[in-house]
Symmetry: C2
Subunit: 425 residues, 2 copies
């Protein structure tokens, strides 16, 4: 662990950047605007992804995969969409490099490999997907189509911040097709509810649901609904959006269906997405000047056990004594890390796991060995207690539930004390 | 379902293409060389991914995510690597489109947005990852690094085939860093064993392990080990590779570590990957002229239940009667689809699920209702039997194990009857 974090009060933005780096979540890459998501950060994202994926499947959606590239002419087809994304995209113009004859060992673009039509690295996939749906939809019997995709997308950004705004990011994008406007609107609302439910139950982050004003809408949408959460600096962060696209994309890509009554009409559409930006929201909602505070539902490690010992013999005794508790915890689906690394002092370890937001820390030393106890520390409120080892697994399980709830309650109290009802301009 | 498939004997390659399309696994997209993986195909890929991901984690690996783009100069750093991939890559040269002043509603590349250095859409990630590892590794204490990434990659291909060879494909790429050559070689072998184990246990596909000749090695590797499987047309298909990269990438990106003894040395590397090509291997190993035959371990639907009825009343009775069996099956972790679609005939459904390779089909009609029986059909060998509904869940569970084993045994017998030991050139 590096030196202490800048405090939130001193510089909130600096605190955030240092925390993301020091807690080993992510770092800037050598490619402008692109980040490297490190294993600890990615493990949190995987938990988010798996939870959301299950919620999508439980509401009848299936995953699929569409091409990374969008031909330029596809982007042109929906006017608002083109305007919204053309100014910030990565453009593939060639498909080959060749040896640079003027510089030994260097490569250069082979001008003979110029593409007839440029390919855009997807900033979002409405265009490529609606061009595909055209081949899938003839009749009302082919509807609804309820598809989600987990993918990387690229929007060229000049000013980037880890997780919050990066040129490449990971996300999911749902793209559904319906036979009526009502059904599409219901889907738009349903997915907003799914996002809100996920944010509150898993991220322990209270959200406010609403619709965007016309100027803030997604490029090509008739209505953009979103969830927003209040960060500790008093700013609202958009955490997920669900768009009612009307018939805009169906018209742009000529996707019609024959209704039960034999009438030909354009298909109705929605799209909805959340991204690795949720990582930024999670960090900013709960963390403090000592580091992350992770809600147990998304923590890669629930419990870290740190032995306090002198010499190998004591360590061996502790390691043996702690085994049954570890097994019990694991049997309950709780993820446990036993940190017996001999090259680090226990004080260093305490600070490290605080920084990494591990919800529960267990310490066990010679005194505990005599008394059959362990010391438990909560990351959410810093309280410690010494408890008997017998029955500890059960207690820790309850504690994790309590921590999840407490983090939500704290975030809610913070939000409610920072919200003022405004009824006039 | 479309008309019958071309038979394997008539045209093996045509049979494969038709099967992939008709079974709703994937299709060609409007973007040259890129495929759309449809929900049914993607569900199989998800099962593969989840099983492999667990095996990687069980052997100590963690997931992370690295940028989609590789700067040209990074690709140049390892000579063999550059030669291997420069000729088949998507090159990003600009970061903006603008309105085409000559054509209303059209976009064009904004020449003012030209990048100083071109970005290559990753064909593989050694270069970007080793450039990152440089910042992570100083001492032997930072080693080993055992990281895997699930990602999309692009290799420009002129002649493509769904799953087997596409410009964009999905894969996983493991990239590990070690302090000794022995450890890296052991990792290379371990991951080859993981791939072989996966292929045999999950895909029911017997494989042969071996090392590639020098000319066939991965661009930048000292040794490329692979698993290959024999397809029904007598051709071997490469299904996974594991590379010992020596110190090539560490030297190219100047990644050194201080050993326990205080000696500075370059880091040793491996990389290993499997891709959506495994889907092609799975299809070609087991399928027949009626369609897919999916091993239960990877089948999105294990059991399909088709009611045989006349009129709504009979359907309602069957639907009620079948509920307990469905619940029992689901409680055993078996995925069940009850197809009560009234717009399709049962004969159509039988053919459709044969095409889609569902391992077990259950049919239940008026006679069965009287007798308390169901008819069970195995997709692997086509046999049918009528059995009492009581105890059916247990029997089906055993049947699924038997089908998994039988598919492997058949593939093994086919392979062994087509292999000749060759001891001379």
């Amino acid at each position: 662990m590096a030196e202490k974090l800048t405090t939130r009060a001193t510089d909130y933005s600096k605190w955030y950047n240092e925390l993301v780096i020091n807690a080993d979540l992510a770092e800037h890459s050598a490619v402008r605007g692109c980040m490297v998501i490190k294993p600890y950060g990615f493990a949190i994202w995987e938990k988010m992804r798996d939870a959301l994926d299950k919620m999508f499947k439980d509401t009848g959606h299936q995953n699929a995969y569409f091409p990374l590239f969008v031909p330029r002419s596809f982007l042109e087809k929906e006017e608002g969409h083109a305007e919204g994304f053309a100014k910030e995209c990565a453009v593939v113009t060639h498909y080959r490099l060749k040896v640079n004859p003027d510089e030994k060992g260097k490569l250069m673009v082979d001008s003979e490999s110029k593409l007839e039509e440029e390919l855009i690295v997807r900033p979002t996939s409405e265009a490529i997907i609606w061009n595909t749906y055209k081949g899938w939809i003839q009749s009302y019997r082919d509807l609804p189509i309820l598809i989600n995709q987990w993918a990387n997308v690229v929007r060229w950004e000049m000013r980037t911040r880890l997780f919050l705004r990066t040129a490449e990011f990971l996300w999911q994008e749902g793209h559904t097709a319906h036979s009526t406007a009502q059904e599409a609107i219901a889907e738009t609302k349903q997915m907003l509810e799914v996002y809100a439910d996920f944010a509150e139950r898993f991220m322990a982050m209270p959200v406010i649901k609403g619709s965007k004003s016309e100027s803030e809408r997604f490029a090509g949408a008739l209505d953009t609904m979103c969830i927003e959460a209040l960060m500790q600096d008093g700013k609202a962060l958009q955490a997920g959006t669900s768009h009612f696209l009307g018939q805009n994309f169906a018209k742009a890509f000529d996707v019609k269906f024959t209704s039960k009554e034999g009438v030909l009409d354009y298909v109705w559409a929605t799209s909805w997405g959340v991204s690795t930006r949720l990582m930024g929201a999670l960090i900013m909602t709960h963390s403090d000047d000592q580091g992350l505070r992770l809600p147990p539902m998304l923590a890669p490690i629930h419990v870290v056990i740190v032995p306090i010992y002198k010499g190998e013999e004591q360590l061996a005794m502790i390691s043996e004594k702690i085994q049954p508790l570890m097994s019990e915890l694991r049997a309950k689906g709780i993820t446990v890390k036993y940190d017996n690394d001999d090259t680090k002092r226990s004080g260093w370890k305490f600070a490290e796991y605080e920084l990494k937001g591990v919800p529960v820390r267990v310490a066990i030393g010679p005194k505990d060995m005599e008394n059959g106890t362990i010391e438990i520390a909560r990351r959410d409120n810093g309280t410690k207690q010494t408890i008997p080892m017998a029955g500890a697994a059960e207690l820790i399980q309850h504690l994790l539930d309590e921590i999840q709830k407490n983090l939500f309650d704290q975030a809610l109290a913070h939000r409610d004390s920072h919200i003022t009802e405004v009824n006039t301009y």
